[in-house]
């Protein structure tokens, strides 16, 4: 198996390189299941959170432990944007985004109670990897549609084309699929 070495705040990992389409393979970061790496990333990113941040917002589910760990360190509350409308939600707000890698539409959902925690607040988006930015764009639009102001984006890695609108610890290249 091909791997790609990364280091996050002194913690080293070999990320498996996996095929995600006919044309492209990616180095797979999985914070789910790796509390040591999650805490290291939270340690590094907590020092770089914009000062005016009042609330963190993260998309379900891979970045959720990171948002939790950042929240523990900074005392800032966090909100999870879900990918489905749950039957118990009250006045949920949704936005559909089309993933460039999978071509499939994906829903982003804020429960009504969470909308109240975002409205009028300075929001920092937390994600694990920002690649094409389609989720990020949809999430920004969703937050702004309910009256939040996005003041920054934090990610462990950017991927593919370098981008300067994301505060990241590192950058991952894209790979050719094997064979």
């Amino acid at each position: 198996m091909r791997t790609y070495p990364v280091e996050i705040a002194g913690v080293q990992r070999e990320l498996p390189i996996v095929k995600v389409g006919d044309q492209v393979a990616v180095a797979l970061l999985n914070l789910l299941g790796d509390s040591e790496l999650t805490e290291a990333a939270a340690r590094a990113l907590s020092e770089r959170i914009p000062e005016q941040a009042e609330v963190l917002v993260t998309p379900e589910v891979k970045a959720v432990p990171l948002a939790h760990a950042l929240s523990v360190r900074t005392g800032l509350p966090y909100v999870v944007a879900r990918k489905t409308v749950k039957p118990y939600m009250v006045r949920p707000v949704t936005r559909e985004v089309v993933s460039i890698t999978t071509g499939k539409p994906q829903l982003l959902v804020l429960d009504g109670a969470d909308v109240e925690r975002i409205r009028g607040k300075h929001v920092v988006i937390v994600d694990d990897v920002v690649s094409t930015g389609s989720t990020l764009k949809g999430l920004k639009e969703l937050i702004e549609s309910v009256g939040g102001k996005v003041v920054g984006v934090l990610a462990v890695f950017t991927e593919g084309a370098p981008r300067d609108d994301v505060i990241a610890i590192g950058h991952l290249p894209l790979f050719e699929p094997e064979g």
């Binding site: 095929k19 995600v20 789910l32 509390s35 959720v64 760990a69 966090y78 879900r82 009250v90």
Partner: protein, 180 residues
């Protein structure tokens, strides 16, 4: 569905007034939300940790709501954890696919475990962690996934048990959640 009122839920030193939701006509349950609540998660993890057997080698949970609880328990005990997903991901190779037994006909749920993650369970002593047990369907599915991955379930831990226990597997829960 109508939100009727709130109900007080206490975990150790943390109390939350959570919404009561009517899931079926005439049946209301308190809706506990662990996502987004750092204080509640840390208190629940602190109280569950002594019930985690010494010999536990890996924790197993599902997305999404028990993830931060499992992360916190894993950190307290310096253990790895594995998350069974509820949707197939593009990068999964040769995943284990497990139906979740459901009491409601026609509503099926499926768990997906990538082979790379299944390998972390093989020959390991596994503790299943969740936030709320109701029918036990998810726990049964995680039991079955562990067996199929070659692991051994040595504990099943939950913060809440909702209503009466209706499954055979023994799950330990810190508190009971009433059905009103």
């Amino acid at each position: 569905m109508t939100i009727m009122e709130t109900y007080p839920i206490t975990v150790g030193n943390v109390t939350r007034h959570v919404p009561l939701v009517e899931t079926l006509p005439g049946m209301r349950i308190p809706l506990v939300e662990f996502l987004g609540d750092v204080e509640l998660v840390r208190e629940a993890a602190r109280l569950l940790e002594p019930h985690l057997p010494e010999e536990t080698e890996v924790l197993l949970t599902t997305e999404c709501s028990p993830v931060t609880l499992t992360h916190t328990l894993a950190e307290l005990r310096d253990l790895p954890y594995v998350v069974a997903r509820r949707r197939r991901r593009a990068y999964m190779e040769d995943p284990l696919i497990q139906e979740v037994p459901s009491l409601t006909l026609g509503s099926s749920d499926t768990l997906w475990l990538d082979r790379r993650w299944a390998e972390r369970i093989m020959n390991r002593k596994v503790a299943i962690v969740t936030d709320v047990v109701s029918t036990g369907g998810t726990i049964k599915a995680l039991d079955r996934l562990t067996y199929r991955a070659g692991g051994h379930v040595i504990a099943r831990l939950s913060v809440f048990q909702q209503g009466q226990r209706e499954f055979n597997g023994e799950a330990f829960a810190l508190y009971n959640l009433p059905i009103l």
